[in-house]
């Protein structure tokens, strides 16, 4: 299957290896080192109606360490959410992102906080990368007051307005026309910023996506459509749902780029390229070839429509965290032990956040009525007998 790829050959760094130093100072010295390192992406980009960017990505020790740290946190966060769901502390729906972390972190590395991101329901990690907190994540998942949406949204509705994250959406494909609207606003305000509308391979067959593509192309909007192709729409493999699973080509008159979504540096390069392109030439589609280890949601074991060998194969060959780990080791930016320590530290951070989130109270019952309309609208709500109990919605 095209999903399994061989591990890339890692190039030797162009800068000479650093002098040996004690373990602690080594990590300290290199986690803030911003000397450029050039790394080649695992595979070249494939373009549709556009010139693909170069395979050589400029990064630094600091950036790679950030990638590793953040991805380790996200991985740990999703796995912890899994356990919490099974313990029935999280109810409702929970769609986990582990395996796809490189898309979130790579995108973040290539853009600014003034660029907008809007995505579907697999949004925990995007929220985290946009400056979300672990407490905000777990409290929201458990429906508590300290959650990022005050406990009223749940897993599928995380938001971070200050940092341009326009949220998670439950209805498949509904967020894409919204993303185009965001882009229009940015262009109208003459901002040098772009909007990223993320959707999955299942949503790629929704009519509203093509309506949005047409509008964005017609009006030259700085909208970038990112198809996070994890090859399965719930349980349906892409080749059974789409006549053309080359999602980067489906924009037709909108150029597209196919990117290895498990390589954070490739994602970064693609997003930087896309931003530049969108500000000059209008919309672009980025297809991120990625994979999710979990099933579609917590009610899906993820093993009825794909073999365990396939999942473990991808985990072995293409895992995004492992790729960055190998880079860090090859470039002597950190030792094996240091990386394991970071993972342990992040694990503890996640556990602490969960403990704190558990202490957070449920939202007050009056919150049932708030924010239906803007405050002060004064809609009346009656009790069951329509005589006694009356409340004016805040």
């Amino acid at each position: 299957m095209a999903l399994l790829r061989r591990s890339p050959h890692l190039l030797k760094p162009l800068t000479p290896p650093p002098p040996a130093a004690s373990a602690l100072s080594l990590r300290h010295a290199f986690s803030s080192d911003t000397t450029p390192i050039t790394v080649e992406t695992s595979i070249p980009f494939t373009g549709h109606n556009c010139e693909p960017p170069s395979r050589s990505v400029e990064t630094s020790a600091k950036e790679l360490m950030t990638f590793f740290t953040d991805m380790a946190t996200m991985r740990r966060m999703e796995i912890a959410a899994d356990s919490l769901y099974k313990a029935k502390l999280i109810r409702g729906f929970c769609h986990l992102y582990d395996g796809q972390e490189a898309v979130a972190i790579g995108m973040e590395a290539g853009i600014t906080r003034k660029d907008c991101i809007i995505t579907a329901y697999r949004d925990h990690c995007i929220y985290y990368c946009r400056g979300g907190t672990l407490l905000g994540t777990f409290a929201e998942l458990m429906g508590r007051k300290d959650g990022c949406s005050n406990g009223k949204g749940g897993s599928m509705h995380f938001y971070k307005p200050n940092n341009g994250f326009y949220g998670g959406h439950g209805i498949v494909g509904a967020q894409v026309p919204l993303g185009v609207g965001l882009a229009f606003a940015q262009k109208y305000n003459k901002e040098d910023h772009v909007s990223f509308a993320l959707y999955g391979d299942g949503a790629a067959n929704q009519g509203q996506l093509f309506e949005a593509l047409n509008m964005a192309a017609l009006w030259d909007l700085p909208a970038i459509f990112i198809c996070e192709n994890n090859h399965y729409g719930m349980g349906t493999a892409e080749w059974r749902a789409a006549k053309s699973p080359s999602y980067y080509k489906r924009g037709d008159y909108v150029p597209g780029l196919k990117v290895d979504g498990m390589d954070a540096l490739a994602v970064k390069q693609a997003c930087m390229y896309a931003k530049e392109h969108a500000l000059k030439n209008g919309p672009l589609i980025l297809e991120m070839d990625t994979y999710r280890y979990h099933g579609h949601s917590m009610s899906d074991p993820g093993s009825t429509y794909r073999t365990r060998d396939e999942v473990s194969g991808v985990r072995q060959e293409r895992d995004p965290i492992e790729r960055v780990r190998k880079l860090l080791l090859a470039h002597d930016i950190a030792t094996e032990k240091e990386l394991k320590d970071i993972e342990k530290e992040k694990r503890k951070e996640v556990d602490d956040a969960i403990a704190k989130a558990k202490e957070s109270p449920m939202p007050d019952p009056s919150e049932l009525y708030t924010n239906v309309y803007v405050k002060g609208y004064g809609v009346e709500a009656c009790g069951a007998d329509r005589k006694g109990v009356k409340a004016v919605l805040p």
Partner: protein
Amino acid sequence: MLMRRIGRSSGASRSCFFISRGGFSTTTATSPDGTTLLPTKTSTPSSSTKSINLFTAINQALHIALESDPRSYVFGEDVGFGGVFRCSTGLADRFGKKRVFNTPLCEQGIVGFGIGLAAMGNRAIAEIQFADYIYPAFDQIVNEAAKFRYRSGNQFNCGGLTIRAPYGAVGHGGHYHSQSPEAFFCHVPGIKVVIPRSPREAKGLLLSCIRDPNPVVFFEPKWLYRLAVEEVPEDDYMLPLSQAEVIREGSDITLVGWGAQLAVMEQACADAEKDGISCELIDLRTLIPWDKETVEASVKKTGRLLISHEAPVTGGFAAEISASLVERCFLRLEAPIARVCGLDTPFPLVFEPFYMPTKNKILDAIKATVNY
């Protein structure tokens, strides 16, 4: 073998359609050999029954529908392997992938495609995975399906279309897996909206809907898929559309509901009984065209009416029932008509227990109405 086309003008003139003053019509159905079947209320005592749950009953209905008409098709998201609620298990294996097939993720496409298929004289049974996702298809249902026969002067119709969708709260569904959108569709002349309350009802009603020569939207209460278990006849039987059923006789107050809410209302009736209030409970079954006669007769008997549904109260179908009954029974009413419904908020996440029209809210309203 004479195959009757659905909804052909020749067929329509021979079947027993009549529109009564109240606006409900008896439905008939044609079996593949061309004979007209009259609807039966219950199955014959000699047929065997089996204790099954709601999704199994619906599954049986689909098996029978596909078996009895070779030009019927079941399609939707993930129906091939059995569907997310197991309603279509075994269908693809038995009838083949050309008759039971998955569609891509496109509700508007699914319904539009179904309308076209039905216009060619087939029985198209489309599944929308959750009623919350039906809105992209709303335009197709309202503007195409409902008006096809009307605007073509009966030259064309899509009567063979049946859209099935699980609806209603499930305890942890949140905003997008719990909605009850029946009121939106009740506002559209040209389609029928049917909601069963139990496995036996579901099998009979679904078969009636599939064989009804009008497009039907069939909402299935998802909470009851596994929870409701009942003795269901194993054979092919149909229950009449546009006929409400009095499931509990009483004399003090009439309660009207549909779907999963009836179970809650039943409990409230039992509790009210202990306080000496005799409640009459009616299952509407078909929401449009709805059986005004049965409800009117009941309210003329009791003088009080309470309607309950999960959907938000403002603009919910209870409003239509209330207005119609006031028109018909104004002088007989002893108390204002009570509506115990969902609140006027989006379906909440953690606040679901507060939002839902619970047994106690209904009990409260029963007492307030009786003591008015």
